[in-house]
Symmetry: C2
Subunit: 340 residues, 2 copies
C-alpha cells in the first residue's frame, strides 16, 4: 500500500508533455480520426519518450466489448485437442481477439468458471470440454454470453455446437471391416460420460445391426494410451478374441496395438483389424500406420469462428445453431488385409 510509482504513462501524461489535449492523444491512436499530421507527430514523439501504450481497459468499460474470448479446455494430453487449441488461438488472434485460456479438469463442468469469465467480461466462450449437460447449458444462458460447444451436441439460445459426424463415421467403418474380413467385433470406449465416445459406439452398433450383428465385445477406458493398452489386454485375455477392433480415439488405438503385438504376439492387421478416431500425428507414424477418421479440425474451428463472428455482430443470442462436419476415413495399414 505504499505510494507505488505509476507504472504506465497515461494519455494525460502524454498530452501534458506534448502540450496538447488528452483528446488529441486519444485521436492519434484511433484510426481514421480527425487529427492533423503535425499534431499526430507531436503526440507520437511524446508517447515514445514516455513509453506510452494506450490501455484497453477503459475502452472495455465504454464499449462493453473486451475482445476477449475464453477457451475452456479439459486436457491437452490428446494431440487432437492441443491442435484445436492452437487453431482457435491463431484464428481468434487474426480476427483481432485475445484468448483467455481456462483449464478445467475434464469431468468437471464449466459452471464453476463462468462467473469468473463473466467478471472479465469475455465476449464469448469456446468450450472443448467433453461434458456439458443440458442443465449446465441453460445455467450458462443466464449470463448471456455466446458459447460454442466443441464436439458436444448441447445447445440452446446462447449455446451453439460444432460437432463431427461421429455416428455416420463409425457406422461406415462396419462396411470396411466386413469387406476386410472382420467377423468378431470389439469396441474400446472413452469415459462413460463422453458424448463423442457414446456417439461413436452408437454409430458402430447401428452399422453392425444393419448386418444383423449384435455381438460386440466392449471395454471402457479413458481416451489415453495407457487406458487403451489396459483395455485391450483385458478384452483379448479370454478365448473368444475379436478380430476387428474399433477404438474411440487414436491414442487408445495405439495403446491397444502395442498391447496386441507385444503382449499377445498378435499381428495387426493380419490377426486383428484396428481403427481409431481423430487422425492425430502419431497415427501416421511408421510403427503404427493406423486407419482412422480425420476430424477436420480446421473446418470445425472455422465454423466455430464463423458463429462467433455472427454473435459479435448481432449483440443478441445467435439462436440454436448446430453444425455437423463430416469425418473422413483414412485407411492405412492397420486395416489392409485381404478379404478371406
Amino acid at each position: 500500500m505504499t505510494a507505488r510509482a505509476k507504472k504506465y504513462a497515461s494519455s494525460t501524461d502524454v498530452a501534458r508533455l506534448a502540450g496538447v489535449s488528452q483528446s488529441a492523444v486519444s485521436r492519434t491512436y484511433k484510426p481514421g480520426a480527425k487529427i492533423s499530421e503535425e499534431m499526430r507527430q507531436k503526440v507520437l514523439a511524446a508517447a515514445a519518450q514516455l513509453d506510452y501504450r494506450p490501455s484497453l481497459i477503459p475502452r472495455i468499460m465504454l464499449t462493453h466489448k473486451s475482445n476477449l474470448v475464453a477457451i475452456v479446455i479439459g486436457g491437452m494430453y490428446n494431440p487432437f485437442y492441443s491442435a484445436v487449441l492452437e487453431r482457435f488461438t491463431v484464428g481468434l488472434q487474426e480476427a483481432g481477439n485475445q484468448v483467455l485460456l481456462v483449464h478445467v479438469d475434464s469431468g468437471h463442468s464449466l459452471d464453476a468458471v463462468i462467473p469468473k469469465l463473466a467478471s472479465y467480461r469475455v465476449d464469448a466462450i469456446v468450450s472443448a470440454l467433453s461434458i456439458l449437460s443440458k442443465q449446465s447449458a441453460d445455467e450458462l444462458a443466464r449470463f448471456k454470453i455466446p458459447v460454442v460447444s466443441f464436439n458436444t451436441p448441447v445447445r440452446n439460445e446462447w449455446v451453439s455446437s460444432v460437432c463431427c459426424d461421429n455416428v455416420g463415421a463409425a457406422r461406415s467403418l462396419v462396411e470396411l471391416y466386413l469387406a476386410r474380413g472382420g467377423r468378431r467385433f470389439g469396441f474400446i470406449s472413452g469415459p462413460p460420460a463422453s458424448p463423442a465416445s457414446a456417439e461413436r459406439l452408437a454409430g458402430f452398433r447401428l452399422g453392425l445391426a444393419a448386418h444383423g450383428i449384435d455381438n460386440l465385445a466392449m471395454a471402457v477406458a479413458d481416451f489415453r494410451y495407457e487406458g487403451g493398452h489396459a483395455a485391450a489386454l483385458s478384452m483379448f485375455a479370454g478365448p473368444d478374441r475379436p478380430d476387428a477392433l474399433f477404438c474411440a480415439n487414436d491414442l487408445m488405438a495405439i495403446g491397444a496395438i502395442d498391447a496386441l503385438r507385444r503382449t499377445y504376439g498378435l499381428r495387426v492387421p493380419e490377426d486383428v483389424l484396428v481403427a481409431g478416431f481423430d487422425d492425430i500425428p502419431s497415427a501416421a507414424w511408421g510403427a503404427y500406420e493406423l486407419t482412422t477418421f480425420v476430424q477436420d479440425g480446421q473446418r470445425m474451428v472455422d465454423e466455430a469462428l464463423a458463429i462467433l463472428r455472427v454473435a459479435a455482430a448481432s449483440h443478441g443470442p445467435v439462436g440454436e445453431v448446430a453444425i455437423e462436419v463430416p469425418a473422413r476415413l483414412i485407411e492405412r495399414q492397420t486395416t489392409r488385409r485381404q478379404p478371406i
Copy 2:
C-alpha cells in the same frame, strides 16, 4: 450504434434495487469488508435478481493490476510444450491469475505482440518461444513487464530464465553410449536458431571431446517427426553409418527410428543406439521405448511460477534470475545393447 441495451447490470443498478448505496454492493463482494449480514443479504438478493457479476475492469484501472499473465508460445505440435502450457495454466489459475494465450509463429520474435500485451496491462509474460535474442530482451525491458523465458537463456533486469541443463545432460549421454559400445556418433539438430538444440549439441561435443572424439555426423531438422525421419534418411544414406544417434528431441528421435527400421532395415538398438530429449509420452510407447532425458516440466514450471510470485510482490524488476534444472536420463530399450 443503436441504443444497445446494457448487457450487464452494474453495482449501481443492484444498489438501486436493493435500496442501499453502491459502496455497500462493492463491499459485499470484498472479502473481509465491514458489512452487516443483513445488508449483505439484501444485496445478494438484488444481485441474483439482476444476474449481477462484479466487473473486474474498473478494478484493474484502480489497482494497476490485472491478474492477467500472458503465455506466449510458438507451437504445440511438440507434446512437451502442450504439457508445459497445461501446467502453467493450472498453476496460474490456482494462484488466482488468468491466462492470456498468445500464439506467435515459432521463428518470429515476440516483439510484435508486446505492445498488445502492454495494452491489456498483463502483469507478467511467460515466453516459451525458442527464439528470444538479447536484443529483443532489452527491447522488452522498456515495458517494465516481468518476463520469464522458458528454455532460452536470455536475461536482463526484467527478463528471467528457467532452463534445463541441456549441456550437462547431452554430455553425460556420451558416457552411456561408449559403455553401450557406440563408436560412430551422429546428431540430428533442431532449427539452427534454437538455443536448446545448440546447447544439446554443444554438450554432446564436449562429452565426445573428453574422449578425444571429434568425428560427428550432423543433420539439421526442425524438431518434428517428419524432420527427424528425413534427416535420418540422409544421414544413413552413405556408407559410413553412425551406430549411436542422438536427436535434439524425442519427436525427431521417433521419426529417425522409423526411418532406420523401416527404410534401411536397421535394428534399434542392435545396429544403432538412439536417444532423444524431453520424455514425451510417446517415448514410452511399446513400439519405441526410447531412451531420453526427462525435462522435469513440473519443476521448471514451479520455478517459473515462483519467480512470477516474487515479481508480483515486489513491484519492481526481479533482477537477473536464471534457474537451471537438471535433466534426468531414462534409459529404455533403444540403448540397451550389450557392450562389444
